[in-house]
Symmetry: C2
Subunit: 505 residues, 2 copies
């Protein structure tokens, strides 16, 4: 869920060019510099295999919402992990699509965790200029040579670059400086409803407890080349509210009836509308669910400083253009908007339905009405508490009959700027002459809370250079080779960024 | 639009059996009794042709909402009118589907108007037990032999019975005692958006001005045999409200965006929900549109008396069962419910839509949201005034950007109990031993206001016996031959009821 934000919530100053070989940074097991040039050579050498690996992964559809190719893609992902050197690769049953638990024992003192997902969003095939599962190499004007396909950037492409890094290290005859643990799921695009069943497995918990953090491979450069580093993400409560005559005991019980009856028959559609109206302020912008914001942690002075930095590098006009938005809520300026973005919860209507919505008129009194809603959570809110508060809020107002269906909810994640994997990441980028933008938090959501929350309380974040776009949309792509003059990296550079990160840990 | 109500808003006491030949009633041109038995004989004689005529009419689909078969059905309807003796049959162009204006000059002193419609509702073919345009004769358990098809009761069947009456009169060698004027439209199921262009034509207005009223052929008997006589119908304002980022200048302008943006971007979906919430009371039952009920005419003492009568013959449990409703609004008892039903306006949500409403979750902030709504009007409300009040209500609350699309609206109709066509109808039914239930008004709507309103100010209503059901729904039917012991009439009886009415005028 995070990716659209990461992809688009991007603007601002340009950063400098390509990564170069550089000495291993502070927190490794040794102070000796490691010469990574043989690895870089292998990366260039293995380019075509790396591209083919990503293409093969994309060519295996894995649409979790429609259960298309999930079993096959789970097996393929396990094969790809084994090929990359993971000694143990286990399929983890859940009540939904299976997860994966894999370990690579490098005999190192340190261990690092990575989060993978192997599912992708649905496609509207006719909208694509290149078929979504063909994974074609395409020359994209003013961007470069790209792989077009569903999963190209979210997340098969960046994960493929990560695996390419492991292949290159091995081919160069080097030993990985860290052991690796991968936990993967096939339901991220569904809101990770069963991923806790993977993470909470005893063996997995033991392996994760040894990790210094859990990172998600990413392609974190914007079109302008800016590198984004993210310290946290919002949690989410995704629910479907339903008002029905059957549950209410008023209004039509079994089916729609003629609308002329409204004068004497109660309406579940009106009931839903009136109940929804109590959840936000009149302008639709302030959550009004009783007690919802009680647990919101104030913005820290460190975060204020990061927001000042963010704001200073922010191109507000550019960002508004990306979203097709003319003004922010309450006509906030960019600094205030950014603070609100990272620090406040939101209550959104994702979908609304009742009765007849086709062409023309149909005079009916619908017997049911529903709303799909997401509530985004910031620390120290929890999904469990928010669900309870939503229920209580409705109950107090007499809406006990309105059903709340939890469609996949989880807590916010929060990682300290000082956390070793974050500091390592920043050091790697800075050593390469890049000037990352640091986000205290993105408003998107991913199940990182399973790592950052109790009992593991690990740092978690995203790492990786390169550029791609179109997650959840048509013509999703990952850049293999940037057009001339571009400041983001291609596949080789992205692969190098993972090597650099691992050797800097 | 009226028919579902008429079909289903029915219960109560049984009435007596078949019509018999009876003397012409008071208000004719002559006091002499007319022996109608030769006409009745012809009705029986022509039964198969009459059935075939209705079948042919149904077999020509004429779905106005989808523009299916409209042109062909207009021509067919004109042919059927000519065959039945109408000397002048004109197609009347409108900005939508064409209307029809037909006259039959019987050389009589009196003239009677009739309203026809030749369009039908859409079908969900797979739901039908017999194809909707096959017009098959089917033995329906506990009902009798019926014609099943779209339009069977709404309105091709009753109109077919009316035409059969004219054929039988001519075949019996009798002269019609009244001249006839028919005005027809092909957009009743769309809310008659252009029917005024037919009625307001100079020639049509002149012809209608000579009429003593305008009646709609119907099959006004319930399953229990009760005959319903209706003095009026509610008016309707059917609108589509739309909130959009584009019109608002806030929120996403061009398309949906990621829902995590809600925290800083305004939501048209919330805007619509909050605006809708101001239109009714918290329980969804009382219209709160500023000034909406100002023009509501109080219930008269005559109407109170009619409501007492209605209530006395009312089977509340039966009616609740028909609608699948356990209680009326405010837990009203039947007398209070009936008074509310006939005398109060209502504000209904017919449809509600925004964003993603498919399976599972999709995290989006929709750029538009809409509601289909109908407001039912009682005298002396007018559609024009209500539309203006709705606009003003929203404007006053700052919702100027919410678009109101008028999808077809018209005024209520009201005809006095004392009006000659009503009294004739009652006399005919009573002479046949039937005890009609008189409704001061139904909550359904039809464009009768074009006749009852200025400048014509004619009585208007519905006339005709027989039984059918399923208007707007699957397996619509008209009874051709009732099952044993049933108290409603079959096609012959329905046809006789039109003959009786015409000769009693």
């Amino acid at each position: 869920m995070l990716d659209i934000d990461r992809r688009t919530f991007i603007a601002g100053a340009a950063a400098s060019g390509l990564l170069a070989s550089f000495p291993r940074l502070a927190r490794g097991a040794t102070d000796k510099a490691v010469d990574l040039s043989p690895v870089y050579d292998e990366i260039a050498e293995q380019r075509s295999q790396s591209i083919e690996r990503i293409q093969r992964w994309i060519q295996q559809p894995s649409i979790s919402a429609q259960d298309i190719g999930i079993a096959e893609c789970c097996d393929l992902t396990m094969d790809l992990l084994r090929d990359a050197g993971f000694g143990t690769v286990k399929k983890m049953k859940t009540d939904g699509h299976p997860g994966i638990f894999a370990t690579l024992d490098a005999g190192a003192k340190q261990t690092m965790g990575f989060y993978f997902m192997y599912d992708v969003q649905p496609v509207e095939e006719k909208e694509w200029s290149s078929p979504p599962f063909a994974a074609r190499l395409v020359d994209k004007a003013d961007v470069g040579k790209v792989i077009v396909g569903r999963g190209a950037v979210n997340q098969k492409g960046p994960q493929g670059a990560f695996l390419a890094a492991l292949h290159a290290v091995r081919a160069a005859g080097l030993k990985l400086p860290v052991n690796l643990v991968v936990v993967a799921e096939g339901e991220e695009e569904l809101g990770s409803p069963h991923f806790s069943q993977v993470v909470r497995n005893d063996d997995v918990m033991k392996a994760l407890a040894r990790c210094q953090g859990v990172m998600m491979p990413a392609a974190d450069q914007s079109l302008s080349g800016t590198v984004n580093v993210v310290l946290g993400a919002k949690g989410i409560v995704y629910v479907e509210l339903e008002a029905s005559g059957e549950a209410w005991g008023r209004g039509p019980r079994d089916g729609e009836i003629h609308s002329s009856m409204k004068v004497v028959v109660d309406s579940p559609a009106w009931r839903l509308v009136q109940a929804l109206g109590t959840l936000v302020s009149a302008d639709g912008n302030e959550p009004m669910i009783d007690g919802l914001t009680d647990a919101v942690r104030p913005v820290s002075s460190q975060q204020k400083k990061l927001l000042d930095d963010l704001s200073a590098r922010w191109d507000d006009a550019d960002w508004k253009k990306v979203f097709g938005v003319d003004r922010w809520v309450n006509d906030l300026d960019e600094r205030a908007m950014l603070e609100r973005y990272v620090s406040r919860p939101s209550v959104n209507i994702d979908g609304l339905y009742a009765g007849y919505i086709g062409e023309g008129s149909k005079t009916i009194l619908p017997h049911r009405a529903f709303a799909k809603m997401d509530i985004r959570l910031v620390p120290d809110m929890t999904a469990t508490d928010v669900l309870a508060k939503l229920r209580r809020h409705l109950d107090r107002r007499g809406y006990k009959d309105i059903a709340i269906k939890n469609m996949g909810s989880y807590d916010p994640t929060d990682t300290a700027l000082e956390a070793p994997p974050i500091q390592t990441q920043l050091a790697v980028y800075k050593a390469a002459g890049l000037a990352p933008v640091i986000w205290p938090r993105l408003a998107g959501s991913w199940p990182g809370y399973l790592f950052t929350g109790k009992p593991l309380e690990l740092p978690a974040g995203h790492v990786g250079l390169g550029h791609g776009s179109g997650a959840h949309a048509k013509d999703e792509y990952l850049v293999v080779e940037p057009a001339a003059g571009k400041k983001y990296l291609g596949l080789d550079g992205a692969t190098r960024s993972f090597v650099d990160f691992l050797f800097a840990l």
